[in-house]
Symmetry: C2
């Protein structure tokens, strides 16, 4: 059994979600969580992406020093700088984007939509996915920063998010929706909406992490 | 600001409670959590206390290697072997027992009762506190192991625990009750019962940890 390291705190509520799910699936696994400060990460992502990468590399180095065999960053947005982090990481990293795209392929989905922070959408982290329009994206980003990351999950925000999903279904014929922010499954808990799957990136990432915990070979 | 290390997982639900409370009080603190396996710890505490101490020392060493400036074991029961751990720890440790006894003194409480696992009660971790009788202790221990540590918090268990508190109040005139297990405040959430304070050891420990985070000098 390999020892998982999580870079967490980005934000704290979804880190708790990861911890709950991993300990439920693997009660006999020791895991180590390095909880960073989400406001600091948002500042780096906004102003200095090299500093964002440095912040993540340092966190992964600390997890490795503590004995983690591999690490995962428990959030979507920081994966914007993942290509700058992976080559510098002393241990293998399990990417939420790689795991989600593998799931999209496995399920044969062809027109996924995507929700996430403005950073995630504008950097085209989920490159071929269909994004909300600018106004919708502003709404999602604002609610992500000012409600979801603060642990607030309100019915009116949920209703408006589902209305945006409705428009993407009606006008863009999306066949699935990637919840490309690990706080989103805490607001949109259902597995599907109007017959299309909502892809819970936390759940997909947790499955990949649990697989890596049980893996004996290379990740 | 000093970096806190938590030895967690003993059990997972109370580790989440610590994490929630510390991040709420200190949103700008980086913390690192080394989550151990509670069944393994219970086995060591039952059969091999030296191994329990070794398990904790290794966890604290890993936290120190990851850059923690001090550490806290997020549970009461493992403090049974705390005297064997503290001298071997490479960083200062913040004890839940020390913090709780300081709180008892500060509040001028003279006849505290105590609930906890059988290990905690029989080792007299809270040395002068008044313990439940053997039958009551069996009940509390059984529910601790088979419900609370599994994240089950049932109204009938709660009612029976409060009935035991009632007997300690009526027959032993306790003036307070130490919830000497970090899952207990998840079941008994009120601050007082029939006019006596319920001492939430998680809250008391978290306050001591937050003080250590903000402390510049020795802990």
């Amino acid at each position: 059994m390999r020892r998982a390291g999580l870079v967490g705190g980005l934000g704290p509520e979804s880190t708790i979600d990861y911890y709950h799910r991993i300990t439920a699936l693997c009660p006999s696994a020791e895991i180590i969580i390095n909880s960073l400060v989400v406001d600091r990460m948002v500042g780096f992502i906004t102003n200095d992406r090299a500093a964002a990468a440095d912040y993540l590399v340092r966190a992964v180095e600390q997890l490795a020093a503590a004995g983690a065999d591999f690490a995962a960053v428990a959030a979507n947005t920081p994966h914007i700088v993942f290509d700058r982090v992976r080559p510098r990481a002393p241990i293998p990293l399990v990417s939420i984007v790689d795991a989600t795209l593998a799931e999209v392929r496995k399920r044969g989905l062809e027109r996924p939509g995507v929700f996430g922070t403005r950073f995630t959408i504008q950097s085209r982290l989920y490159v071929d996915a269909i994004a909300p329009n600018a106004t919708e994206q502003d709404f999602i980003h604002d609610k992500y920063m000012n409600e979801l990351l603060k642990g607030m999950f309100l019915p009116e925000t949920r209703a408006r998010m589902l209305a945006i999903a409705d428009r993407l279904i009606d006008e863009h014929r999306i066949d699935s929706l990637i919840l490309g922010g690990t706080e989103l499954p805490l607001l949109l808990r259902e597995e599907s909406h109007r017959g299309i799957p909502l892809l819970d990136t936390t759940a997909i990432h947790v499955n990949a992490i649990v697989e890596a915990i049980h893996s004996d070979g290379a990740i």
